[in-house]
């Protein structure tokens, strides 16, 4: 019974292997035939580009597509690089004034009138609000305008850049077509292709796109309510600075108050007493003298403490503010670069779509074609 089993299995596998081999051979041969099949082409293309007519063999258009695609990709990278650098320089200029103004803010902060105004606001109003408003007026007075101007100039630069590149692409296409065109007396049989002029991009379109892109980012959600980017950034900058440790410590009055009070009470009492003694023959004058001396002592101690505080802490105070401003600036740069990258990608994709209506851009790569097409040309 062994032999029939062997014959049975052998024939079973032999048939399977034979069928598999035939199928595989058919697949390979058939694919080979399909790839090497080029229908006879008597037809030509009449392409109209920028008013000029070109008579082209359709198969030669395949040579243009990869070159054009590569050129488009390089121009997109160029636009990206150019805009990134412009964002850096533009925002550096926009924030420069604010960074310089921190010195003036420090000078105001460590002055006696400012100290007493803050105390008064603490007593009667809202000291925190007063401080942030003061910061806005002294440090960030023109920042929102500068930022909005920067954005407008970036949008203008980008639109000019993309429009130039778009024109260059069409010029390159014209050059390529002129290299592969047939003699003008070649009869044009069938297809007529008209390339429309490249669409000019308006900076307002870019502005809408960038605002829409940034609104989706959490920190810029306020843009949806109609606020300008500059106003949003100023508000965020103030919040950031108000959150720094140095700023918080500087704004705490009680710590200073306790120290100063101890000194003042001893000094003021002494000054008051000596004032009374000096002016003692005067009676009422003695009271006035005493009060005046106490007042002078009070202010004197405040001034001394203020100077001491300034000497110890001003540098760190201003440094913290500057660091916060720089961090805010760099964060804004990062968000803008990301947003403009999407805008650039979208705009170049539109150019690509416009071109691909007439030119077949092949997104597929078949390894077999690299051999078969080459053998067909030999």
């Amino acid at each position: 019974m062994k032999n029939p089993n062997i014959i049975l299995w052998a024939s079973f596998f032999a048939v399977l292997i034979l069928l598999a081999s035939i199928s595989l051979f058919a697949i390979i041969r058939g694919s080979n035939q399909m790839l090497s099949f080029t229908p006879e082409q008597n037809e030509t293309l009449e392409i109209t580009l920028d008013g000029k007519k070109y008579i082209i063999e359709p198969r030669l258009m395949d040579k243009i597509a990869p070159e054009l695609q590569k050129s488009l990709s390089l121009k997109r990278q160029n636009s990206q690089y150019h805009i990134d650098k412009y964002i850096d320089s533009s925002l550096n200029r926009a924030f420069a004034e604010s960074i310089q103004n921190t010195y003036h803010f420090g000078s105001w902060y460590y002055s006696l009138p400012a100290e007493y105004t803050r105390l008064a606001k603490a007593l009667t109003g809202n000291m925190a609000t007063y401080l942030t408003n003061k910061m806005k007026s002294l440090v960030f007075q023109n920042l929102d305008e500068h930022i909005n101007d920067s954005i407008q100039s970036i949008n203008l630069t980008l639109s000019d850049n993309i429009n130039n590149h778009s024109k260059q692409i069409y010029q390159e296409l014209a050059t390529m077509l002129s290299k592969i065109q047939q003699p003008s007396n070649t009869p044009s049989t069938l297809n007529k292709v008209i390339f429309n002029n490249p669409m000019a991009i308006d900076q307002k379109l870019i502005q809408r796109q960038i605002v829409s892109g940034l609104s989706a980012v959490g920190v810029f959600a306020a843009l949806t309510s109609g606020k300008t980017l500059g106003a949003v950034v100023v508000k965020q900058s103030i919040s950031k600075i108000a959150g720094t440790k140095t700023f918080q410590l500087a704004a705490v009055l009680l710590a200073k108050f306790a120290t100063k009070s101890a000194v003042k009470s001893g000094g003021a009492l002494g000054a008051g007493a000596s004032g009374v003694v000096i002016c003692s023959p005067g009676g009422l004058l003695a009271v006035l003298c005493g009060s005046g001396a106490a007042l002078i002592t009070w202010v004197g101690v405040d001034q001394a403490f203020l100077k001491f505080d300034e000497h110890l802490n001003r540098q760190a105070f201003e440094k913290d503010i500057v660091i916060s401003i720089i961090q805010q600036r760099e964060a804004l740069k990062m968000h803008l670069k990301k947003g403009y990258k999407e805008v650039i990608h979208q705009q170049y994709h539109n150019i690509f779509l416009q071109l691909s209506k007439q030119i077949q851009f092949k997104n597929n790569y078949i390894p077999a074609e690299t051999i078969i097409k080459d053998t067909s040309t030999h």
Binding site: I28, N364, I366, P367
Partner: protein, 263 residues
């Protein structure tokens, strides 16, 4: 009847292993980290099982052939924990490599592998019956799996090479290497961040290899050179086939059988 039941015993674990890989390839993005690690562990277990079995057999052959049974060398080289750990480390590497490769497999390849499992299930009992006449019972299964590993790998590579050769792939002509990689990587989003990082690495490798070969081929003229380059390229990218076979055959392996008999 015996043949049918033994075929069932073979086809079920093979099919389950296939299903495991298929599920991973199609749902890796939705899996949370715990499930992903569980899946990876299952694949790792199968791979390590297979590797340990062949390592044990080779080690036992070495011991019985070359070393005196009473010597300390025999005791030290007997295998055990260190060998197991080494096999598990190798299996970990190959598991990660295999799991990152399967996500790029086209549907036609999955169909070929499914047919391959059916063929293995049909052939396995037949080979087992044939080989028992010539080989010691203890080692017949192991030897069949060793031969199957090699033969099946070769067969699959021969089948999928034309598949890759004539099928369409992404064209990277218009991209630089960095832009091609960033274009592909930015679309990867997985529930588990560890899996996402691994997939991004695998995608980078895949894009870089296809971009490189497309750029190089573009600059070469002679067809025979182009063909040789493609052959070399496909041989390299088909190395995952060995890992795949290790994994599915690992579901049939039983290295503890070797250890018991040795004791």
């Amino acid at each position: 009847m015996q043949n049918n039941s033994s075929r069932t015993h073979i086809v079920i674990p093979l099919f389950l292993a296939y299903l495991l890989l298929y599920g991973w390839a199609h749902y890796y993005q939705q899996l949370n980290c715990l499930v992903a690690i569980l899946l990876m562990s299952c694949v790792l277990f199968c791979m390590a099982n297979s590797m340990w079995e062949s390592a044990l057999m080779r080690r036992q052959t070495f011991l019985s052939r070359y070393l005196i049974s009473d010597s300390p060398f025999f005791y030290w080289f007997k295998g055990g924990v260190f060998m197991l750990l080494w096999q598990v480390s190798k299996a970990t590497f190959f598991t990660l490599f295999l799991l990152m490769e399967v996500i790029f497999w086209p549907t036609s390849l999955w169909i070929i592998l499914l047919i391959d499992i059916i063929i293995i299930s049909l052939c396995y009992p037949y080979y087992k019956k044939r080989i028992k006449q010539h080989v010691k019972k203890k080692y017949s299964d192991i030897l069949i799996r060793q031969y199957l590993l090699f033969i099946n790998s070769l067969l699959i590579v021969i089948l999928i090479m034309p598949l890759y050769f004539f099928s369409a792939h992404k064209n990277y002509h218009a991209y630089s290497l960095i832009s091609a990689i960033s274009e592909e990587v930015k679309n990867i989003h997985c529930h588990c961040n560890v899996v996402e990082s691994l997939v991004q690495l695998a995608t980078t490798k895949e894009v870089a290899s296809w971009w490189t070969i497309q750029s190089v081929i573009n600059k070469i003229n002679p067809p025979y050179l182009i063909f040789s380059l493609w052959l070399l390229f496909f041989c390299i990218i088909c190395t995952f086939v060995w890992g795949y076979n290790r994994m599915i055959l690992g579901t049939l392996s039983n290295p503890f059988w070797l250890l018991q008999k040795n004791q």
